[in-house]
């Protein structure tokens, strides 16, 4: 199991050929209280770096990009009822959707946890 991050603050945790996607804890901090999440439909083909979901906080609506390409196989229905899960557990219960990776080689271009931490600190 590997977890990888993008410079746009998404994470993807990969088990087999299935990736679970969400936004990083740093991102939820910056967003503030999340009030709405729009998730992709199951079956949708996502392309790496393209819009996959929308997260709306009190201060801003932001696009969430697909960290890797693939087909959506599940969306986290709990988020629609309780968007605050993103604040409570951005990298655990606040996951957005799962997809079946179509090009696992894309993972090589993403950051591991240590590299992402360094990236975030570099931005501050």
């Amino acid at each position: 199991m590997t977890i990888k991050y993008t410079k746009d603050h998404e994470w993807v945790r990969v088990e087999g050929d299935v990736g679970t996607v969400g936004v990083s804890d740093h991102a939820q901090h910056q967003l503030g209280d999340v009030v709405f999440v729009e998730l992709p439909e199951v079956g949708r083909q996502l392309q790496q770096g393209k819009e996959a979901a929308v997260v709306e906080s009190v201060k801003a609506a932001s696009d969430v990009f697909a960290p890797v390409s693939g087909e959506v196989i599940e969306a986290n229905a709990d988020l629609e009822n309780d968007p605050s899960l993103v604040n409570a557990g951005a990298e655990t219960t606040g996951w957005f959707f799962k997809l079946r990776l179509s090009n696992p080689a894309e993972l090589d271009g993403l950051m591991d946890e240590a590299a992402y931490q360094a990236f975030v600190e570099g931005q501050a």
């Binding site: 910056q30 967003l31 503030g32 209280d33 709405f36 009190v58 932001s62 696009d63 990009f65 605050s84």
Partner: protein
């Protein structure tokens, strides 16, 4: 994800109870006013109506099932209700309204007097032209002033407000490309600091939006712009002075580069207030620009009247002006051109002719100021903003070096380590009796505080504002975080829970005991 990381806090951190609660809920002469429906008393009425005559119903089985919920109140209750509500409204008529990014200036009462003249106020858009010659002449005259002030070839008065004017401009650009058979242009370039309506307009007109980064000094990055210009770019949308309150010094070079790429140059005229009478946009190479009459030309704005967003066009885009517009025939009569005919123009933006009341106010403003007075408007607007910048720059942190135009921009570096945020400063400013400045916009600086005093304010009123802001900045630096997190204290409501409002919005009032009332009747 695309992230807004400007440091705006959400949710309520802390709210002390330093202000005593009163028995009535009133705070001095500020009255806690229930909704008008909550003041309902069945059967109470402001007028003495005669009993309705008994008539046979022709509605068959359709019968009233109960009260329709109109509240019953006496006339003094109604008068007090709306007077109290009006007193809760902060307006340019009650004090300094330093809302940078949106010019909030005095609306001269002469404008109102003119707009109420029956020849302007009581006309109907479907009246025969021969009966509204004065109104049509006024529209022609306003168009002439706008064309003169901007140096442009053609004008439409139709757009309803700024963003509608933007749409008009971008539709004209699209029509011009289409007329040339140049259909491969799919992008509009917009600087990072632009008003949000610019990318929204481009997207609404079917274009992809590409952001142009800003330089260290807050202006468009010319090299980045040139790199993005190409045969796929339909146009550039730029505000000048820009949203950081800075004049785009390279604007002539920018215009040349845009034209060399075969694209058109749209200017957002929201900040025309800063340059009116001093710079003619046509001389800067601009092809099309909207003008917010409700900003630059003082027609009522926030909390007030409708917007009005006339658009001016250069020679190259003049053939695409939408209908209707006013022309004067050889015999001196004014007439509306209502059909686009076979020409290349894209048609009509709006039912009828635009915001007539705003046209009257704007022309009254122009004529009462004269050309020299309008020039003075720009001078004083810029002087006032620079006065604030000079008086605040040692306690707050200006985002960019050097003088500003009509608004001055600070970021939250002066609050670093204090625990106080831009939002807290804004809330504390309300307790001091001022409408806050624009916060957290533009997004290109962290924790932005954008202040536009306008030319309306006297030195005395600017000084009072400075005194309040300096005291707040110093209080924040002294470590009094609790004071700020508890603000505002003196308002009808304390700090609002924006998160709860978004997660559990209550959008409709419903009577708690309506059923009981109906039963009792």
């Amino acid at each position: 994800m695309s992230m807004n990381n400007q440091g705006r806090p959400t949710g309520i951190q802390n709210s002390d109870s330093a202000v005593p609660e009163t028995v009535t809920g009133n705070r001095g002469l500020q009255i806690e006013e229930p909704l008008i429906f909550e003041q309902d008393s069945a059967g109470r009425c402001g007028v003495d109506l005669p009993e309705a005559p008994a008539v046979a119903s022709r509605l068959g089985a359709v019968k009233p099932r109960g009260r329709i919920g109109l509240p019953g109140l006496a006339e003094p209750q109604v008068v007090r209700h709306y007077t109290r509500l009006s007193q809760k409204n902060y307006a340019i008529d009650s004090g300094l309204y330093p809302l940078g990014s949106c010019t909030m200036k005095h609306n001269p009462r002469l404008n109102e007097k003119m707009a109420r003249l029956p020849g302007f106020a009581d006309v109907h858009p479907l009246q025969p032209e021969s009966t509204v010659q004065g109104a049509l002449e006024l529209m022609a005259e306003l168009g002439r002033w706008l064309a003169t002030l901007t140096g442009m070839a053609a004008v439409t008065l139709a757009p309803a407000a700024g963003a509608h004017g933007e749409m008009c401009g971008i539709m004209a650009i699209r029509s011009a490309h289409d007329a040339k058979g140049d259909t491969g242009r799919t992008k509009i370039l917009v600087p990072e600091s632009a008003h949000g309506t610019n990318p929204a307009t481009a997207a609404a007109c079917g274009y992809a939006v590409e952001a142009i980064p800003a330089t260290e000094d807050g202006r468009v990055d010319l090299e980045a712009l040139k790199a993005k210009l190409g045969p796929d770019v339909a146009g550039l949308m730029l505000t000048n002075p820009n949203t950081c309150g800075l004049f785009e010094r390279d604007i002539v070079t920018i215009a040349e580069a845009v034209h060399a790429a075969g694209a058109y140059f749209y200017c957002d005229g929201a900040n025309f207030n800063a340059i009116v009478g001093r710079v003619r946009p046509a001389d800067l190479g601009i092809d099309v620009m909207h003008i917010n009459l409700h900003k630059t030309f003082s027609t009522p704005h926030g909390g007030g009247g409708p917007g009005s967003g006339p658009v001016v066009f250069s020679e190259s885009l003049a053939p695409y002006v939408p209908v209707p517009y006013v022309v004067q025939d050889k015999d001196g009569a004014f007439r509306l051109v209502e059909q686009a005919g076979d020409g290349p123009a894209f048609g009509r933006m709006k039912a009828f002719h635009g915001q007539m009341g705003m046209f009257v106010r704007a022309l009254a403003y122009m004529m009462s100021h004269g050309a020299d007075g309008l020039r003075q408007v720009a001078n004083d607007a810029v002087l006032n903003a620079n006065y604030l910048l000079a008086r605040l720059q040692d306690v707050m942190t200006p985002s960019f070096e050097g003088p500003c135009m009509h608004e001055c921009l600070f970021d939250d570096h002066f609050l670093k380590g204090t625990g106080v945020t831009t939002l807290d400063i804004a809330k504390a400013l309300i307790d001091e009796g001022f409408h806050p400045m624009t916060m957290y916009f533009p997004l290109v600086v962290h924790g932005a505080l954008l202040i536009e005093p306008t030319e309306t304010e006297s030195k005395a009123s600017l000084d009072q504002f400075v005194t309040a802001l300096r005291a707040l900045a110093e209080r924040a630096k002294s470590g009094d975080v609790a004071y700020f997190q508890g603000a505002p204290r003196l308002t009808p409501r304390r700090r609002l829970d924006e998160t709860a409002a978004a997660r559990k919005p209550v959008l409709r009032w419903s009577p708690a005991v309506e059923e009981e009332k109906v039963a009792a009747e």
